[in-house]
């Protein structure tokens, strides 16, 4: 059979290494999965990107660290030690023969499906920062956990505004949280439990702020203030020095004259714990919105399998709820089920959490929309404000004159369908930066839903694509086999495509075509 030599047909990707089971994420779910798979005799590689290099943390990747790490994070050996010591199950995994790789990030999962047929089976792209490579696997268990929803208010880009997941990661697993007195935003179970844990670890909790009139979960003895609007974070070169709040009026706006300045060095966002689905979405797993499971989550069967059978999912990235957040054994059980390929016995699955849709919409309404601030960037990478998003303004660097004519806003995109964050991104660049929307995607979705008057669940998730961690060209670079290099073409390598039109014969046949060669166009 003839193969088009410029195509991928006949080329085979041979991964540098292989394993039966690849587990991604060394949290409770991933560790339980790795231990269970090893117990069953499978070869297991367990990767976790922690400890994350300090420079990457500075960019709020993978979590919204808000620059609140101590200098200790520059010492990778110490961080590695701290991370291993933070969970005895890591040592247990080593002992059980699991091939544990810390400081190794998975940046892509690949598998044949509609429109892709050349891959030799399930693959994952890994990187240790200095190099990248592919690993072939029979099964992949994704246990990548959660991250935090961002919330834009004036000053939120200051050092010291970070997410609750990031704060706990730094405090409990790295021993490197640089915070003394914090204000927590949000009264979700995750926010309140997190505040209590941080308090136990020595962080003063100055206040817990809730924009609604009642908290979502029981605050216990935490200093809760309800019915408040966040006005701004004040600060100096070292970061936040205070958070200014005000009473929320009937109209949703701050009541004049009620500003209250709370001194603090840290503001912790606990409005939304979000399942980290980046690898799953990029791989093509089916994703659906579930208000009870923390947002967009993979669609799973009873044995934790995604729509791609070789990929199973466990822990927070499968869905977040108060019960799972409070009881680690639920995530661990999911991990074991994912490894064993076993359906859950009745009642063993995590119960649903709160309905987060209305809650998040309310925070965005009270903070981004009520402030209508012209200087606060919702997308920090690309410096896009809420108004620029809703008015679909071309990015400022284009210098496009606002002639008043031909002005378009979100409504001009809505046909029969809901607003689409990717379409808005293409026009405004919101979510197109280095962090690929980690800090802004939930806020943008809320803005679009509020503006279009539809439910949050109707707004599709902005797509994730590999690499889900930024990879330098030199690190991403892969070798070309000789045949690929010999036939590498800018485009399709069809001579006839580039024949000047005045030389084109009256008839074309496959037999009469010129031997394929490299072309020259784009």
């Amino acid at each position: 059979m003839i193969h088009d030599p410029a195509s991928i047909a006949g080329r085979t990707l041979t991964p540098r290494e292989r394993t039966a089971v690849l587990v991604i994420g060394a949290g409770p779910a991933g560790l339980a999965a790795a231990l269970e798979a090893a117990r069953q005799g499978a070869g297991v590689v367990l990767v976790d990107e922690n400890p994350v290099p300090a420079e990457v943390m500075e960019e709020d990747i993978p979590l919204l660290f808000g620059g609140r790490m101590t200098g200790a994070v520059r010492n990778r050996a110490a961080m590695l030690e701290a991370f291993i010591a933070s969970d005895p199950a890591i040592a247990a995994a080593f002992d059980a023969g699991v091939d544990v790789r810390l400081g190794v990030a998975a940046w892509g999962l690949y598998i044949n499906g509609p429109g892709v047929g050349w891959l030799p089976g399930p693959l994952a792209g890994l990187s240790d920062g200095a190099r990248s490579w592919m690993i072939g696997c029979e099964r992949i268990i994704v246990a990548t956990g959660r991250r935090d929803m961002g919330l834009a208010f004036p000053g939120w880009e200051r050092r010291g505004v970070l997410g609750m997941t990031a704060a706990l990661r730094l405090a409990a697993r790295y021993g490197a949280l640089d915070a003394r007195r914090a204000v927590v935003l949000g009264s979700t179970a995750e926010a309140l439990d997190g505040a209590r844990r941080l308090h136990a670890l020595g962080v003063g909790i100055a206040a817990v702020i809730e924009t609604a009139s009642a908290p979502l979960d029981d605050p216990g003895t935490l200093p809760l203030r309800t019915g408040c609007v966040v006005r701004r974070a004040e600060g100096d070169a070292e970061g936040v020095t205070a958070l200014v709040i005000a009473r929320r009026g009937e109209d949703g706006r701050p009541v004049p004259g009620t500003d209250l300045r709370i001194a603090c060095d840290t503001v912790i966002l606990g409005i939304g714990a979000v399942p980290m689905i980046d690898l799953l979405d990029a791989a093509g797993c089916r994703i659906a919105f579930s208000a009870a499971l923390g947002g967009h989550v993979p669609v799973l069967d009873d044995a934790q399998r995604s729509s791609i059978p070789a990929i199973a999912v466990a822990g927070d990235c499968a869905g977040i709820g108060a019960a799972k957040s409070r009881d680690v054994t639920i995530a661990q059980a999911e991990g074991r089920r994912a490894a064993a390929g076993r359906a859950a016995p009745d009642g063993a699955r995590a119960g649903p959490g709160h309905d987060i849709a209305g809650y998040r919409l309310d925070w965005v309404r009270a903070t981004l929309l009520a402030a209508d601030d012209e200087d606060t960037h919702v997308c920090r990478c690309e410096e896009v404000t809420a108004r620029e998003i809703l008015e679909l303004r071309p990015p400022r660097y284009l210098g496009w004159p606002d002639r008043g004519r031909n002005r378009r806003d979100l409504r001009s995109l809505l046909g029969a369908g809901p607003p689409n964050p990717d379409q808005v991104k293409r026009l405004t660049r919101a979510g197109m930066g280095v962090c690929q929307g980690r800090r802004c995607r939930e806020q943008v979705a809320c803005l679009l839903a509020l503006s279009a008057g539809c439910g949050l669940g109707e707004v599709p998730a902005a797509t994730h694509r590999a690499p889900v961690r930024p990879l330098p060209l030199a690190v991403a670079a892969g070798a070309e086999e000789a045949a690929m290099a010999a036939h590498w073409d800018t485009w399709f390598g069809m001579k006839s495509q580039y024949l000047p039109y005045w030389e084109v014969p009256a008839h074309y046949t496959a037999a009469g075509r010129d031997a394929p060669d490299q072309g020259d166009g784009e």
Binding site: T12, G125, R408, S412, L427, R465, A474, E481, G521, E522
Partner: protein, 393 residues
């Protein structure tokens, strides 16, 4: 919604269909573009943005229009003129020279750059360069902005765009179509334009028109922003692409995969580890950017005719336009040509005889296998690593 319609219905709101709709609406024609998804969601929003096709009969019009498009449409396209082609060997250089000769014959200049001048215009280029051309023609635009600009401009002139509406069939056949069936009702029309990208073959077949086509997946990558080079349109080393006005490097090239377009819904397939080879090539083309981080990769589906040239042709009251993988850059001109075909019956500004469907009259029925364009065997399965052409990755 049944019973409504438009004088001209265009199927496919990609760059081709939207440009045609804009040209027709400017003429005051009652025109409706129907798309199963969002405007420009397929190849038209996933391509390299290159506007440099000196071998095409539409080249002169492509070059005439692009510098005016922002003004004409009323929305930014980010068009930037001129291209540099960097060659790493004599073969690459010869092909770039051929493009220069084809353009020269049509009145467009190129020059050979010395290394100092190359470095001045494209400071991210490094060593090992065999030679480079500066083409004082062509250029690139931002596909995302351009497709939306077409759609808005078309609407500004009274045209209609209907998204999320899939065409399922027709009333009438051959060159006499009077109605378009969709999943949201039937729409009447006096003239039909088929511009549905890789789906054009299937839709044409419903009208009894045999349009030979195959589909392939092509991939691209983009990096974080870097300081702007004086000239952002730098191709070479087997890659096409550009530095965006924001500073990102967006590049593609290398192996494509022939696929069955019918197995794919409105969401294009994901990219594959070919990202790594594209990254390697880009690091060699622009070594001073080797530290720049890849932040995303994607794939798009390309529509190809057997000779890689567009088909723009009219049959009765049906006009067919499929652009064979070079349709973004040519879109200002292809829309103009489609307008002419619909309104006048023939293109008034260029000789489109090389783009007629009749050139395939003698095409062998088994042309796909003769050209080796069938999807890889075992596609969709997780087969074993073959022995031929191993690639250690």
């Amino acid at each position: 919604m049944s019973g409504t319609g438009a004088s001209v219905i265009i199927i496919g709101a990609g760059a081709t269909g939207l440009s045609a709709g804009w040209w027709l609406a400017r003429d005051g024609v009652d025109v409706l573009a129907i798309d199963r998804g969002i405007v420009g969601w397929e190849a038209s929003g996933r391509n390299g943005g290159g506007c440099t096709h000196p071998f095409s009969p539409l080249f002169a019009e492509e070059q005439r229009l692009w510098p005016m498009m922002d003004e004409l449409l009323g929305y930014p396209t980010e068009f930037r003129p001129q291209r540099i082609r960097v060659a790493f060997d004599a073969g690459q250089f010869a092909r770039s020279a051929q493009a220069a000769r084809d353009a020269a014959r049509q009145g467009f200049a190129s020059e050979v750059l010395d290394i100092a001048e190359l470095r001045r215009l494209a400071p991210l280029v490094g060593d090992g360069v065999h030679g480079a051309h500066l083409h004082r023609f062509g250029g690139h635009a931002n596909p995302h902005r351009t497709v939306q600009a077409y759609a808005w401009a078309m609407q500004d002139h009274g045209g209609q765009v209907m998204q999320h509406t899939a065409v399922t069939g027709f009333t009438g056949s051959g060159g006499r179509v009077s109605g378009v069936h969709t999943d949201r009702g039937t729409f009447g029309c006096d003239h039909l334009v088929l511009a549905a990208g890789p789906q054009t073959r299937r839709l044409a077949a419903l009208l009894g028109i045999d349009l030979p086509m195959a589909a392939a997946r092509a991939e691209m990558i983009v990096t974080e922003p870097l300081p702007l080079m004086p000239l952002g349109g730098v191709d070479g080393n087997g890659l096409y692409g550009r530095q965006t006005l924001r500073g990102n490097l967006a590049y593609g090239g290398g192996p494509h995969e022939w696929i069955d377009p019918n197995g794919i819904g409105a969401t294009p397939p994901p990219s594959t580890p070919l990202m790594r080879q594209i990254a390697g090539r880009l690091a060699r083309l622009l070594p001073r950017a080797a530290h720049a981080r890849v932040i995303r990769s994607w794939a798009g589906i390309v529509e190809n005719t057997p000779d890689g040239r567009p088909v723009i042709d009219r049959f009765g009251n049906v006009t067919i336009a499929t652009m064979s993988s070079i349709g973004f850059g040519l879109s200002p001109a292809s829309g103009h040509a489609i307008r002419d075909l619909v309104q006048e019956g023939a293109c008034g500004f260029a000789d489109l005889s090389s783009l007629r469907l009749s050139r395939f009259e003698r095409l062998e029925p088994d042309w796909i296998s003769r050209q080796g364009w069938q999807p890889p065997s075992g596609a969709g399965t997780s087969g074993q690593a073959g022995s031929a052409g191993r690639m250690l990755s």
